[in-house]
Amino acid sequence: MALRPSTELRTGLLQSMMGLLLLAQASVASAVLTIEIIGAGEHQIPVAIVPFGGDSKLAQTINEVVTGDLQRSGLFRLVDPAGKSPHELAEVSYPDWQMRGADALAIGTVALQTNGRIEARFRLLDVVKQTELAGQSVSANNDQVRAVGHRVADLIYEKLTGDKGVFSTRIAYVNRQGKKFSLMVADSDGYNEQTVLAQNEPIMSPAWSPDGSHLVYVSFETGHAAIYVQSLYTNQRMVLADFRGSNSAPAWSPDGKQLAVVLTRDGSSQIYLIRPDGSGIRRITFSAAIDTEPNFSPDGQSLLFTSDRGGSAQIYSMPVGGGAEQRITFGEGNNFSPRYSPDGKGFVYAHFSNGKFYIAAQDFQNGQVEILTAGGWEKKPSFAPNGKLILFASEARGRGILATVSSDGRVQQHMFTQSGDAREPVWGPHL
């Protein structure tokens, strides 16, 4: 069977490569040092990944990335190829893999082409049915071998779980080291860190534009909290809102045409809508309390936000058009930082009670609350674009770290950056 190259995939990859190349002018920090995985999924799919043939150095990196991605998702159990290394379909003997207990098998080759690009060709095989599930080629510039690995892992993930993979997406977070703050963008596994902005004043609340081309964030560089928008392709930045007091908590609408922000220019912290060029400011909450951390529903019609109008911080919802605000979290403790799930059926948030922060999820329909983590200093959750993982800020060994938990709470991973405290993480969109 012929390989089916996907032009769509290539275009997407090219765009992200361009972004990465332009970003490369910013300093490249060291990679994440350690990743710890805690727990395991309920039903893990046994899959064998045979290191690709061809360029052995490229193949090794791709193998590390693919196996690392699949393992961290918690949905797969890696089956040891144990001496078998087919690279072509003709070399595959299905009984070998049935014997090893694999349900699926990935094989392929990788080569550095004369034009300097990496090309990986791979096949995903159903060992039980003895059929090919996918055959694809992935290509990228020669300095983007990890991106090739993430694409391969995404395709395997999608074919075997039915959900779109998120390994090729990026995350943003703030690294604090003493008084130095850096706004970082990295691959979903924490590698390939790029510094977007570094300064000696705080940076808070990064958020992605829906197309992944821009970050909006809060910076104190002029002595108070103001909101900036920055292109990840050109690094060009502009002030979005810089009124008296605090300008903060930016969130992009799903169609990219407006942002919700929090301003104190008229009194207490209230939510306003604003266009990406800073025009058309319109206030949409009118309380005397704190209204902050707005987040758009996937259909762009509603907002979740944090308010203390009832006496302590809780989550509320409202139509973007204004009016009919409704409290949606109750019970003991305070709740912060709501984020809709990508399917719009529920939301995650940070729950604070008895001196600890937890990552919690709530279903809109039945109101059921699920505490997803063991509790500690766990803040600022955000969904991966496929809704299967939640990224959040945590703390371990006295340092701020990045962590993820599967949406069923079963699998957690901790990502330790090389130094400093990682905080305010946010998962970016599919590119």
């Binding site: 009194g267 203390d308 912060f336 604070f352």
Partner: protein, 168 residues
Amino acid sequence: MKKLVISIVLVNLLAACASEKPKAPEAAAPVPPPVVTAPEAAPAPAPVVEVDSLNDPASILAKRSVYYPFDVSAVQDADKPIVVAHAKYLSEHPDRNVRVEGNADERGSNEYNLALGQRRADGVKQMLVLGGAKASQIETVSYGEEKPKATGHDEASWSQNRRSDIKY
């Protein structure tokens, strides 16, 4: 108030003259005119600064911070005299401006704490204005939990970080 300052300057100048007098006899008797130039040479401005109660460590104005219980943004009774004293000072010194910086402990989201710090700072501003200061003399900002004075995860640190600072 300006009048008061001027009169104090005069008193100081007179004092300088007075202190200069004993020196004159020590100088050569045939040259008395230098007495006239002496007041010009006297370091007149320095004593004025000492008179500014803002710089008096014993004055209540030396206290520039107010503290809060958890998730509270109203100035506490114990700290009200501090804010009232600064209000009075600002009303008497319309040329002086302050920046009120609100802070919060880390028990909340960073954004909620930014809003809480802003409300704390704005609360101090409100009290300053009630006490006679002009709103235009006061700028308020919040650092939320971003610039902690103490970094521990305990009440000893948190209590220091729930704070508004009045900065001249």
